[in-house]
Subunit: 503 residues, 2 copies
């Protein structure tokens, strides 16, 4: 049945498969502005579902949304030494506030009379401008904690942009919180890490490792960084979200202090944390297949698509029945919300083309309805992640659809977890380690001993392209927590850490 829609297969060229899928499923495309993407309606609908789910989790834990300027004075980046190194380099810089007619009398040029006194940077992240505000918001311990989140676009001038995974402009949420003590900030950073893990596993059906970054991989300006790491189908790691304990670094840089109940002036403690449109790329990389997008049901804009199949005299009655069926399904709740249903009435396309089209675009459940089905009061139901399809009586349809959606979520998660387990190994020698990461492929997750030095980390990256993804919070196996010897230097190691090539 399924016609070849002409996507490169994963085995042929994984990277090309991804790029083609994103475009052919109408999720996003490159724009004329280098590195900036256009998120098309099909892709943006996924982002909206992600946003609503995450936003609900943030609000349920006491966070509120706000909006800070997208432009940041250049000098703000100079205030925090590590931060400037990490963020003030490849970025978009506003230098003028007016265009004027060019010297040749044609075209527009930046007006030399409208040069800014101080250049402004389009935010690559907002710690600096937000802590500049926090200075005015915080006087007393009664003003703490501040639990703020912002849904925003940010800009980093990426050298090798890639739709969703790494773009110059991207969309994200960035949480910024202020606390009275180290422990409270630590609790917050871990609370968010847990929200990210839950969102990833319960909404995206993507199993993730959670852990802390090595100093070499932490956020520029953080005391330490927590991360969730997923595994793609080509055995690479993908950092899907990070939660930073910022210590008092930004409080120092912006002189933000509070008066304690005892009347003492204290520096404020901070966290920041974010997930972005990269999550869409992650989800695709983990679940999709050679036929197109496989979208985890809780985040699928099209949970059900109904394809009426009828010609001539039958068309009206079959379309009307499809319409009624859609209404019934829309009145059915799944995952706390009405089921999202589309009826594909297009009359210039064959059923076979439509099936392929909806597989490409990631509809979770397809319902086929022809005149004979209608007469028998049944419809044919097919699940996107399975090859088979089967007839279901009208009276059982709502139940069949909700259990198909639940079953699909569970199957995607378990399949991805099994894949990760099959591609995770323990390695104890430098030879084995290098072998694991040889070639262009991923190599999966490698748990190995590391002596804790930057020097060793750098050498491993230079020779194998693998980086430390995280030091696990909960070991996959208690034995991983036993001391050992570094695979490179032979020096003592406290525990195994997770290495992988990463996107």
């Amino acid at each position: 049945m399924a016609k070849d829609l002409g996507i490169t297969s994963r085995s042929e060229n994984y990277s090309e498969w991804y790029n083609e899928l994103v475009k052919r499923a109408d999720l996003a495309e490159n724009s004329v502005v280098r590195g900036c993407m256009v998120v098309k309606p099909n892709g943006y609908a996924i982002w909206e579902l992600m946003r609503d789910a995450l936003d609900g989790m943030f609000k349920a834990t006491g966070h509120v949304n706000a909006a800070f300027p997208m432009l940041i004075p250049k000098s703000f980046f100079e205030k925090e030494a590590e931060h400037v190194e990490g963020f003030a380099k490849e970025c978009a810089i506003v230098t003028h506030h007016r265009l004027t007619t060019g010297p040749d009398g044609k075209g527009l040029v930046p007006d030399p009379d409208a040069e800014l006194e101080e250049p402004l940077v389009i935010r690559p992240t907002s710690e600096t401008i937000i802590w500049h505000s926090f200075k005015n918001w915080i006087q007393s311990w009664r003003d703490l904690p501040i639990l703020i989140n912002q849904w925003a676009n940010v800009m980093r001038w990426e050298l090798r942009p890639r739709l969703f995974l790494r773009t110059a402009e991207f969309f994200w949420q960035e949480g910024h919180t202020a606390h009275a003590t180290y422990d409270e900030a630590e609790e917050e950073a871990l609370k968010i890490l847990e929200i990210y893990r839950r969102f990833s596993e319960e909404w995206m059906a993507v199993p993730v490792l959670t852990g802390v970054k090595s100093d070499g991989e932490k956020f520029a300006g953080a005391d330490h960084t927590y991360t969730i790491e997923a595994m793609t189908q080509d055995g690479r790691a993908i950092q899907a979200g990070t939660s930073h304990h910022l210590g008092q670094n930004f409080a120092k840089a912006f002189d933000v202090r509070y008066q304690s109940p005892e009347g003492k002036e204290e520096l404020v403690w901070a966290t920041s944390w974010g997930v972005s449109t990269r999550l869409i790329g992650t989800m695709i990389m983990v679940h999709s297949d050679d036929r197109g997008l496989v979208c985890p049901p809780r985040l699928a804009p099209h949970q059900v698509v109904i394809v009426p199949i009828a010609k001539g005299d039958d068309r009206d009655r079959v379309n009307a029945a499809a319409d009624r069926m859609a209404e019934t399904l829309r009145e059915t709740l799944w995952n706390g919300a009405p089921i999202r249903v589309k009826v594909d009435y297009r009359d210039n396309l064959s059923p076979g083309f439509k099936f392929n089209d909806w597989e490409l675009k990631g509809a979770c459940v397809r319902i086929e309805l022809g005149p004979r089905d209608l007469d028998a009061e049944q419809a044919v139901v097919a699940r996107r992640d399975m090859g088979d399809k089967s007839p279901v009586g009208f009276s059982l349809l709502s139940d069949a659809v909700t259990s198909a959606l639940s079953g699909m979520h569970d199957n995607l998660f378990e399949r991805a977890l099994r894949f990760r387990e099959q591609n995770t190994r323990r390695v104890d020698s430098w030879e084995e380690f290098k072998e694991a990461f040889e070639g262009d492929g991923g190599g999966g997750f490698v748990l190995a001993h590391w002596d804790g030095t930057q020097e060793t980390e750098d050498r491993i990256k230079a020779e194998t392209k693998a980086t430390i993804r995280c030091i696990l919070r909960t070991p996959l196996d208690p034995a991983d927590e036993q001391p050992g010897q570094c695979v490179v230097s032979g020096r003592p190691s406290a525990r195994r850490v997770v290495f992988a090539k990463a996107y």
Copy 2:
């Protein structure tokens, strides 16, 4: 009871009253970046409620969301002659993509080696970049209509910024649609105008006039512009939303054509439309009073605030009862959603201070609960827009709250409508006209005859600061549609049009 919280009164200085209210109610504040605001959690919560309501109305009429780049190549603005005049002037211009250490070895400067070949403009509006995409999206009549909306931040370098009303960066939605015919585009532009009117009146409780702009006041690049116009308490007009029929102007500029069913190549017709965070400023200007924010209930983040009043031994049982009361109210639906309730447990503030604080911050209904109230199974209910308060038995509380919210919405709308009616007059001589707009005040809406020329419009603006707000779609009085003589030139006029000083 009510202590003076120190806001300038409206009669004293309307402009100062507005500025202080926005800051004291914690809605927004100026940032360090000139003209860019920080929207604080209390203000952003209003924007989220506005967004959700409008987004629902757009989606119910077939629109989908997407996201286009925030940076636009300078040359795009040169493609549409009127548009460039209107938008490419005062804007933020990105010229470099990297900072580097300054020549003195300290600080950061834009890297001369990282100058962009073509400067990029932070979008002041997105017609150009979106129509550049539409060129690739549209081939056949089957690709039409395209009904896209974008929630985004935009940037216009304002000379006299004012929180919410006119800021350099602001937040908005911009709809961009493509159609096969003039009539379809016209229908779309009017459909959106009606959504804006309904939103304004049914959600914001702000009565608006709807009409078409004169050519002198239309959007730069539009064939014609529809507008909704509200009246502030100082008798000025405020343009709250616009919907543009763009004709084929952008299709011509970006060469966007479709093949008709008959196989002919045709230029595409367009609309664009937007409302912004200016709506928050509008709402404040129309409803708020000398005690602070008056927030229309459907858009109020705090619909109900419960203030438990108890000391010593009574505190725990009164707080617990307040908590139960909040739960009951949160289970009550009003306007299709659970009532938004806050309990003010703060123990370092007096009840009187809290009452004033919540009046300042715009809680719609205040419930006071003390130990004697609790014993009598009643609470005291006060409505923000009325002076009085009265006891209500627990069993009637949900009903009392929902009818207070409904009553408040209706009262705000009717009060604003009455005020507009009282400040709308018909004027037939140039002397009277000038008199109406004398002084620093607003002057209300003046319906007068106009000869239809730009010259007269310019003269009126120069001499009185009044502009044509719109040519009404539905006359306030049928007699306004009768021909007459222009108040300035004495030349024939087809009908009265609406003049006002505007924000």
